[in-house]
Amino acid sequence: MNILRKSDLKRIVACAILFAAVQGLLFAEIIGPFWELNIVLICINIILAVSLNLINGYTGQFSIGHAGFLAVGAYTGAIMTVKLGFPFEVALVVGTVAAGFLGFLIGLPTLRLNGDYLAIATLGLGEIIRICILNIDYVGGASGLMGIPRFTTFAWVFWIMIFVIFFIKNFKNSSYGRCCLAIRENEIAADTMGIDTTKYKVMAFTLGAAFAGTAGVLFSHYFYIAHPASFTFMRSFDILTMVVLGGLGSMTGSITGAVLLTFISAYLAEYPEWRMIIYSATMIVLMLHRPQGLFGNKELSMKMFGLGGGKDGRTAESK
């Protein structure tokens, strides 16, 4: 038990060192604006990937409309700062809560569906959100909401990302997380374990949606604009690709997937027409040869390299 507390502490120290290093490089301007932008994007994508992994990977509910919640966060946050003049902190909270609340409202009826049907329903809902935004003149309609101040800094995204990662990791290693995993594994058996499956599915969906909302606020306050074209089905597919590439059900996998794909698309920035081709071809080849993704549902840990000391799982949890 003490080891666990210590190991959590160790991780936070490691994160702080990483933060200091990157921040230092930014200060010294060794990392230029192009890569700074991509580092921020990586953090946002990690938030999106781990929150989608909570829904798809841990709870086994196949949602492919994550961009919809990203949009809700981006727009709500922007309304808070641009239209109503609230500080950024308030925008973050409101954007998160708004996306989470919408996730709750949507999740309650749709999570009764399973498999393919849920996928299609979430896709449809994501599109409905986007179409509605397109039709609201208050937020700029098709031309988007402009003039958003750049409040997002590397420090903000980094520490929010760390918070989300720890949140979801601790969630998974609790009774709540075990119930979600049980639902993924066998819903009928989970039911006979006294698990109110709807409650946990909606809980995971709401949390996942809320964090996507957080990512949205960070996103629109970095790029000065919230535009409906940033939140299409293609964006949802982007996030899904990260999660699946890393391995559904693996947090470290989602993180790796997000880092890898953000880098790939940064390098392909000059050849946008190739980007989606490479994405989709990667997906097909991956599904044909390694459908479980890079890590399967396992976590990457020191133990995998034979260095001892598990990152997650029972070794760290029990004594």
Binding site: D8, F167, N170, F171, S174, L181, I188, D191, R314, E317
Partner: protein, 256 residues
């Protein structure tokens, strides 16, 4: 004797087919009851109604003083009923110990905030759950395999794990759906011992669906017989053995 489960005249209709018709049954505290019948007689359907998977079209079920017909499966479990499945349903990608730990979810008192922030009751309760799960695994001789994935266990151990997991929910009534299916005579004999022992140790009542006549006759105190959705007899194993309708319907001359 104290009444634990009272099934009153339940029936269920699936698209015009009366799968179970006017079935009644009583189980007292600590009893070991068998439910037998030919294939398709409606045994599993009756089971599913008792555990809340299906809602009976008619009749009612009272469990431990509470009406459970119409309640959902997880609510029935929370009232103290646990079951296993004919076709094993484990959480195959989870470790053996996590399969059992899942079952303690109803008794967890720490809240979401405590779990995320890792303070308050979180560590104490998680430690306690791990300890209880390990104890249970020891009883079923699975402690060495605690960290293996459930799907990697051999068949017999999977059956045992499913029973262990059901017991972890803390039931007053345990329902076993063909626990001896696919076992050899030696394993079946051990299972018989295990069932008797579980009942004593955990102080609960057991309802058993079984094809293996030896097992049912050997361990059950009373037996109900279903045929075409109707209950055609109930009584002690001796009475069932000599009941003419049962012999005609199910056992056939060669068995006796």
């Amino acid at each position: 004797m104290e009444e634990l489960l009272k099934v009153n005249d339940i029936s269920v209709v699936f698209g015009g087919l009366r799968a179970v018709s006017n079935f009644s049954m009583t189980i007292n505290k600590g009893e070991l009851i068998g439910l037998i019948g030919p294939n398709g007689a409606g045994k599993t359907t009756a089971f599913n109604m008792i555990t809340g998977v299906y809602t009976p079209t008619e009749g009612e079920i009272i469990f431990n003083g509470t009406k459970t017909s119409g309640k959902k499966s997880y609510q029935v479990t929370q009232l103290g009923m646990a079951r296993t499945f004919q076709n094993i349903r484990l959480f195959s990608e989870l470790s053996v110990i996590d399969n059992v730990k899942v079952a303690y979810n109803m008794h967890v008192k720490y809240g979401l905030v405590e779990a995320i922030g890792r303070f308050g009751r979180y560590f104490d309760e998680e430690d306690k759950i791990t300890e209880m799960a390990m104890d249970l695994l020891k009883i079923f001789h699975l402690e060495d395999k605690a960290d293996e994935l459930a799907k990697n266990l051999p068949y017999g151990e999977q059956r045992r794990l499913e029973i262990a997991r059901a017991l972890a929910t803390g039931p007053k009534l345990l329902l076993l759906d063909e626990p001896a299916a696919g076992m050899n005579p030696q394993e079946t004999k051990e299972l018989m011992e295990l069932i008797r022992w579980i009942r004593e140790k955990f102080d609960l009542a057991i309802l058993l669906i079984e094809h293996d006549m030896g097992l049912v006759m050997g361990v059950c105190e009373r037996i109900y017989v279903l045929e075409y959705g109707l209950c055609i007899a109930n009584g002690t194993p001796d009475e069932i053995k000599h009941n003419k309708r049962v012999i005609e319907a199910y056992l056939g001359e060669e068995v006796l």
